[in-house]
């Protein structure tokens, strides 16, 4: 897998690609982007690049058959093509998810659930007539395969790709902003998320049943921050690369930990996935307009599907189930209170969300039970607990926790972004970049030392 935070990408693939991309006349750049993307994908996923290419072609062909809404409305032929496309895309996703869950031999192709979701949304938008101009083949294949998004999203939608302009050019300002967001994301991922993941390793090493209650809570908070820095960081890198290539910035996170309530949290967390489920599952099912029971049913369907999208072990279903319960609780029971006293909503987020991430993190239910017994030590005292273990871990991880928590508030991020053209911030970003490169070099040159025993 070729990651944005790898030496090969940072110093080989990306600079070479950028040079070729910008030396090519503007009207041919999308062809360069398509070829570069397939090369990028093949470097990470090998032969699976053929599967991506095949699915891309199939979806383009079927998409052309679905697109007819502008010529006298939908016909059976369009409808049939749409159903076949969704059947193939969703079927491939379900099939691979199930097989990879059942057997160790089948591995889910790299970025599978991200690009298939793009393909499904593309067909649905065509079917609903939301795409008004007949998609061009180059636009389509670039949209499905573009390397900034093919491995981990964001699930950008056709209508915000900006394909209205045919020649891909980029202003100096957009390019510099893109580089800024890329470096910021790189720092979040490498300097904070990757460090904090070692804290979770420590907890696994000790064993959930033997951690002290303070360490259990520090672990839950640390995991929450780490997941955020990891995913947001990667999304910022993807968005930054997109900007450097002439696309719009794709918002994937909107300060979720500053949200007012769990429902609000998920309107700000992994936005492109959330809105995908909203637009292509929740609203088609009737959304919240057909009575309380229908709404609850729709929420349950959406959240169980979201859980399954992340993985097929029972903890993901449980995670989705808990979230839907929390959202219903907020919507129908404490909604008024949250509206009146926003602090209640914030506290909801800060208390419940880290707990749900623990469910997300631990795949086996026994381990999960043990962890919760340590979070809430009312049912037993754990096995061989060292009550001062958290001091040792805090001594090591406090800087990463502190910076991560600061970035969980919108203020620091906004301050940096607002002043991004000032020399002080530019120097800071330079330091972030080289520190990240240092970490990457050490991790790549000696993967074992990275987890020194």
């Amino acid at each position: 897998m070729i990651l944005f935070n790898s030496l090969t990408f940072l110093f080989r693939f990306f600079p070479v690609f950028l040079a070729v991309y910008y030396l090519t006349p503007a009207r041919f750049r999308e062809i360069v982007l398509f070829l570069g993307s397939i090369a990028f994908y093949a470097m990470g996923a090998g032969r699976m690049a053929l599967l991506l290419t095949a699915l891309t072609v199939i979806n383009y062909v079927l998409g052309q058959m679905v697109f007819a809404a502008d010529k006298g409305g939908l016909k059976d032929r369009n409808r049939r093509a749409f159903y076949i496309a969704v059947f193939i895309d969703a079927g491939a996703l379900v099939l691979f998810k199930a097989l990879s869950g059942l057997s160790d031999k089948v591995v889910l192709p790299l970025g599978f659930s991200f690009y298939l979701f793009k393909m499904i949304s593309y067909q649905a938008d065509l079917f609903r007539g939301e795409i008004t101009r007949r998609p061009d083949i180059i636009d389509t294949v670039v949209y499905f395969t573009m390397f900034p998004q093919v491995t981990q999203g964001p699930i950008m939608r056709w209508n915000n790709v900006g394909f209205e302009k045919r020649e891909r050019t980029v202003s100096p300002k957009a390019f510099s902003d893109g580089l800024f967001f890329f470096v910021l994301g790189l720092g979040m991922k490498v300097l904070l998320a990757d460090r904090l993941s070692l804290l979770w390793n420590e907890i696994e090493k000790i064993g959930y049943e033997s951690i002290s209650t303070p360490l259990a809570w520090i672990g839950a908070v640390g995991y929450s921050v780490r997941l955020y820095m990891d995913f947001w960081g990667y999304s910022l890198m993807a968005a930054g690369i997109g900007m450097m290539l002439g696309f719009h910035f794709v918002v994937n996170f909107l300060h979720p930990y500053w949200a007012c309530g769990v429902a609000d949290f998920y309107r700000r967390w992994h936005l492109t996935l959330g809105t995908w489920f909203r637009d292509y599952v929740y609203i088609p099912l009737g959304g919240s307009r057909r009575g309380v029971l229908r709404t609850i049913r729709n929420l349950i369907i959406v959240w169980l599907l979201t859980g399954l999208w992340h993985g097929i072990t029972p903890n993901y279903l449980l995670w989705g189930g808990i979230l839907v319960a929390l959202i219903i609780w907020e919507k129908y029971i404490v909604g008024g209170l949250i509206d009146a006293v926003p602090l209640v909503g914030h506290l909801h987020v800060w208390f419940f969300v880290p707990l749900t991430w623990v469910v997300f993190a631990i795949p086996d239910l026994t381990g999960l039970k043990n962890y919760f017994m340590r979070l809430f030590p009312f049912f037993g005292s754990g096995i061989n607990v060292n009550n001062s273990d958290f001091i040792k871990q805090l001594m090591i991880y406090w800087p990463y926790l502190l910076f991560g928590l600061l970035l969980c508030t919108p203020h620091w991020y906004r301050l940096i972004v607002k002043n991004r053209n000032r020399m002080a911030v530019i120097v800071f970003m330079t330091a972030v970049f080289w520190l990240s490169v240092y970490r990457i070099v050490i991790a790549e040159s000696n993967p074992f030392m990275y987890f020194s025993f």
Partner: protein, 394 residues
């Protein structure tokens, strides 16, 4: 000029990144065969500047003079004590060109590559043997094969679970020099492994890596024994850095192993090292370095019983996913260091049957990460130690 100014104003961050990377690239490329000669560079996959960063991590800089002015603390300490063995000194004299200033046997730092260690070893090998030979011949050579009746062999068999792969074995003509002459107890004393109570460990010192840190933090022996351990140490660097020393009162401080061994008198010294260096060096180098370490311990602790604790295996998942850090290699290395035991005052003990399944894989329920015992499983290690302690029989 105007164009440059314009570019600078519009692409400031890009310009700075490009300008800062240029000297690093040049430096890395220029010194790739000299100062950074030990590091691998695949120019297709990584930039030359990664060599500079690797060097920074390992304390290797292209400007030799700057480094030499900053001496290593341990070296300074050893200059005071005349009788302190220093494996690095002789090697440093022989260091050709001094291309790599910090590199000498016995001073191998964390993170150094196998090639680097191998190179330093060739240089230092002779001096280590000389030092071994120079030890006082005050002891009679032991013979564990000739045990009196009723005395079981106090040297355990290194558990290999039939997984020793010839690919990892030392070459055919390799001889493990078990001639540990000079570090033996008096003849006529026989030991056998058997059960003891926790008080047995009141004069014991445990030296090791993060696994021993875990034993100190989560084992029951912490109330009886002393511990000298730190995450990520290996047999190559255990003497070169401060470790965490926890004495029988539970007081903790940072200290060098040699200082602790010099200042205190222990009845037993348990050594458990080997998991961090699985990816470093060969089995024979590991064995040689282990032997040197035991010799050094014996110098400071002439009366102590020395226990070599075989490396604990890793889980099946870990073992099957790594070509050199797996149970096959662990068995091979255990087999090599077990030959250092003599059953007289150096013992080899192997806890793997207590925590592994029949194939020699660490049981999943024993470990959260596949490498360390979980806190709740240290009880097994404790039990193993208490059931397999050497006591005088006759």
């Amino acid at each position: 000029m105007k164009l440059i100014l314009l570019l600078w104003r519009r692409y400031t961050l890009l310009c700075i990144l490009a300008l800062t990377s240029l000297p690093l690239m040049l430096l890395g490329w220029r010194c790739r065969d000299t100062v950074y000669g030990e590091y691998d560079l695949d120019p297709l996959r990584e930039p030359a500047l990664s060599l500079v960063f690797e060097g920074v991590h390992d304390g290797i800089y292209p400007f030799k003079d700057i480094i030499e002015s900053g001496k290593r603390p341990r070296e300074e300490a050893s200059e005071d004590g005349e009788n302190v063995p220093d494996g690095g000194e002789a090697a440093e004299d022989a260091d050709p060109e001094g291309a790599d200033p910090g590199d000498a046997a016995g001073t191998v730092r964390e993170g150094e590559s196998a090639a680097e260690i191998a190179a330093s070893y060739e240089e230092a090998g002779d001096s280590a043997v000389e030092k071994l030979e120079a030890l006082p011949q005050n002891a009679i050579r032991g013979d564990a094969d000739k045990l009196p009746e009723g005395v079981c062999n106090p040297v355990m068999q290194a558990e290999d679970y039939d997984v020793v792969n010839v690919a990892f074995l030392s070459p055919d003509d390799t001889e493990y020099n078990t001639d540990t002459e000079g570090i033996f107890a008096k003849n006529g004393i026989y030991f056998a492994l058997g059960p003891v109570g926790p008080e047995y460990f009141s004069d014991a010192l445990f030296i090791g890596d993060s696994r021993t840190v875990g034993l100190c933090e989560y084992g029951t022996l912490k109330e009886n024994a002393s511990f000298l351990a730190k995450e990520s140490v290996n047999v190559y660097n255990v003497l070169d850095q401060e470790l965490r020393y926890t004495d029988t009162d539970g007081d903790t401080r940072e200290a060098y192993a040699e200082d602790i061994l010099e200042e205190n008198s222990f009845g037993k010294v348990y050594v458990a090292l080997g998991v961090n260096e699985l990816g470093i060096g060969t089995t024979y180098m590991y064995y040689e370095k282990y032997r040197e370490l035991l010799t050094l311990i014996r110098r400071y602790q002439p009366e102590a019983l020395i226990y070599i604790q075989g490396i604990m295996h890793v889980s099946e998942e870990k073992s099957s996913s790594d070509s050199c850090r797996n149970n096959t290699v662990i068995s091979q290395r255990n087999g090599a260091v077990s030959t250092l035991a003599n059953g007289r005052d150096i013992f080899y003990i192997d806890m793997n049957p207590y925590v592994c399944d029949g194939n020699g894989d660490l049981l999943p329920e024993m470990s959260g990460d596949g490498i360390h015992l979980k806190a709740s499983a240290y009880e097994r290690w404790d039990r193993f130690l208490m059931e397999n302690a050497a006591e005088i029989v006759k």
